[in-house]
Symmetry: C2
Subunit: 314 residues, 2 copies
Amino acid sequence: MQNSLRPAADSPTGPRAHASGRTEQLFGIRRHAAMPERDGALNPAAFEAGPWCLDLDGRPTGAAATVIMDNATAVAVHHAAPGVETVVTTELQINVLAPLPAFDAAAITEGRTEGPLLECWTRPLSWDAGGGVGRAWLEDAEGRRIVEATGWFQAVPTGAPENRAAFTAAAALPRGPETRVPMPGLLAARPETLPPADRAVRPAVTAAVAPGARFAPKPELANPSGAVHGGAMTLRAVVAAQAAMPDRELYDVQAVRVVFTRPGHGEMVALTRVRHAGRSLRLVDVDLVPVGEDGAPVAEKPMVQVQVTFRAAR
Amino acid sequence: MQNSLRPAADSPTGPRAHASGRTEQLFGIRRHAAMPERDGALNPAAFEAGPWCLDLDGRPTGAAATVIMDNATAVAVHHAAPGVETVVTTELQINVLAPLPAFDAAAITEGRTEGPLLECWTRPLSWDAGGGVGRAWLEDAEGRRIVEATGWFQAVPTGAPENRAAFTAAAALPRGPETRVPMPGLLAARPETLPPADRAVRPAVTAAVAPGARFAPKPELANPSGAVHGGAMTLRAVVAAQAAMPDRELYDVQAVRVVFTRPGHGEMVALTRVRHAGRSLRLVDVDLVPVGEDGAPVAEKPMVQVQVTFRAAR
C-alpha cells in the first residue's frame, strides 16, 4: 500500500469527477467548481452550517458533518489511486473537535440568510489498487479544525448506471424550506420513536440491545449504488444513540466510529446498547438493522455497526 | 475548547516533563533528550520496531505502536494546555496505515542488533482546561505515515507520589533478552487461553460475548497512577480480538478504538464478540473485565471497551 505524509507536487491529486446527490445537498455540502490544493491537501467543498446540524433536541452538533467527511475522504483516496474507479467506505471515524459556528436556524429555514461556511480539506493517507484511507477536516476562517475524520475505503466494481442517474437527478430537486430543517426530519426518523429528553434520568447500562429509533425509507438519501448514503446511515445511528440517553442534553458527541457491513435499504430500526454511562464519558453502541415481515428487528443483519462516545457538554 | 490547525510560533508547545516507565521501554519508545518541533508538531521520541511488534502468531503489526501513540497524544495535549497537570486517556483511535519496516527478530532478541526506528510526531488538535485531543503518527525516513492515532484526554487530579515513584523505578529495570519477545508475553497473556490459528475456520458471528484471552497481573505494566498502562490495556484487547478469529493470519489490523472506562488492575479476561466476519472486513468487540472470587468474568465492570477492525492481508 503506497502512502504519503505530504503528497509532493507530482502526487496524483488532480480533480476527478465526483457525482453529488441529494444527501450531499441536504447536509450542507457546497462544492467548489475548482478544487484548490495546499500542501498536498485538496479543498473540494465547503460545509454550510444550518438547521440540518440540529439534533433531536434542536442542539447543533458537528457530527452533522458526517456526510461531507465521508465524501471528502473518498475524494482523497479516489484521486490518489488513479486505477480505482469506485470505492465504498468500510469504516469512518469522526471526531468533533470544537463547536460549530453559531447560525440563525429560523432565518436559514425561511430563506432570509445562509449559514456560515467551513472549508473542507482532505488528503490521502495511504492507498493501493485495493483501496485506501484518507483524512478530511473542516476548518474555520482562523484555520481551527472543528471536525476531523478518517475514512477507510475498498475498491469495488462500478454499480448500475441507472442508480447513478437517479442519484444525480435527486440532486436537482428543489431546496425548499422543508429541506432546511433539523437532522431527524431529513433522516426520516419516525418521531414517535424518539423519546423526550430528561436531564434527570441517566440511561441504564445493559448487556442486551434494545430497539430504539426507527427510520422510514427515503429514496432521496440513496448513494450512486442505490443504497442509503453512508453518511446518512451514520447520522441515523448518531440520532439513535442520542435517543437512547434521556439526559443527552448534558452531553456532546465526542467521536463516532462506523463500520459498514451491508448496503442500507428499506425501513430501519436501531438496536442500541448503552455500554458506559459515566458522568464525564458515555459510550453507546448502535446497529441499524432491517425490519422483518413480522415487524421485528432482524438483529443478525446489521447494515452499520456504530459506536458513539459523548463527553460532558462544556 | 481552544484548538489549532497549525500551532503558531507562540503556541505553548515547549517541552514539559513527561515521566517514562517500563511499558514505554518494553514497547519500543526511545525518547529524545530534546523535543524537535516542525510546523507546530513535536517529536518526543522514536519508535523502535522489534519482537515486541510480533503478535500471537509471530506476525508483525503496527498496532504495537499503541503505547507510544497513547503517550505521544498525551504529550501534545499536555504541552498545549499549560494549566493541565495530569491527564487520563478517555478514548484512543489507532489506524495502521502501512506495514512496519522489516526487522530481524532473532538478532534483536539476542542483542546483536537494534530494530529500525520510526520517528514519532504529535500535535494538539483542540484543548481547554478540562482536557483535549491530540494526533500522533509514526513516519519512516521518506516521511510516509505508518501508524496514526487520535487521543482524547481529561484533566484529572495528580495521583499518589508513591505510584509515580514505582513507575519511574520500573523504567530502570534491565532490558534483557526476556524483554525482547513477542507482544503476548510482554502483556502477560496466559498462553493456554490463546488458541492456535487455523486459516480454514471462519469465526462465528454471535450476539453474546464469550470469554477469551486471559492476562496475569504484571506490576511492570503500571502507569504513573498504579493502574495498567492504557496502551498495554489496548494491546491486550488487540491480542484478544485476534485470538477470537481462528483465520486471523489472513487479516491485518486496520483500526483500533478503545474507550477507557475504569482503571485496569489484577487478573483480566477478555469478553469478545465477533460482530462481523466478512471476507474483506472484520469487526471484533472486546471488553477487558476483572475476574471475580469465583473465577468468573465480571462482565458489568469493563476496564476498557475496544473495537478492532481487520482487513484482508495484502
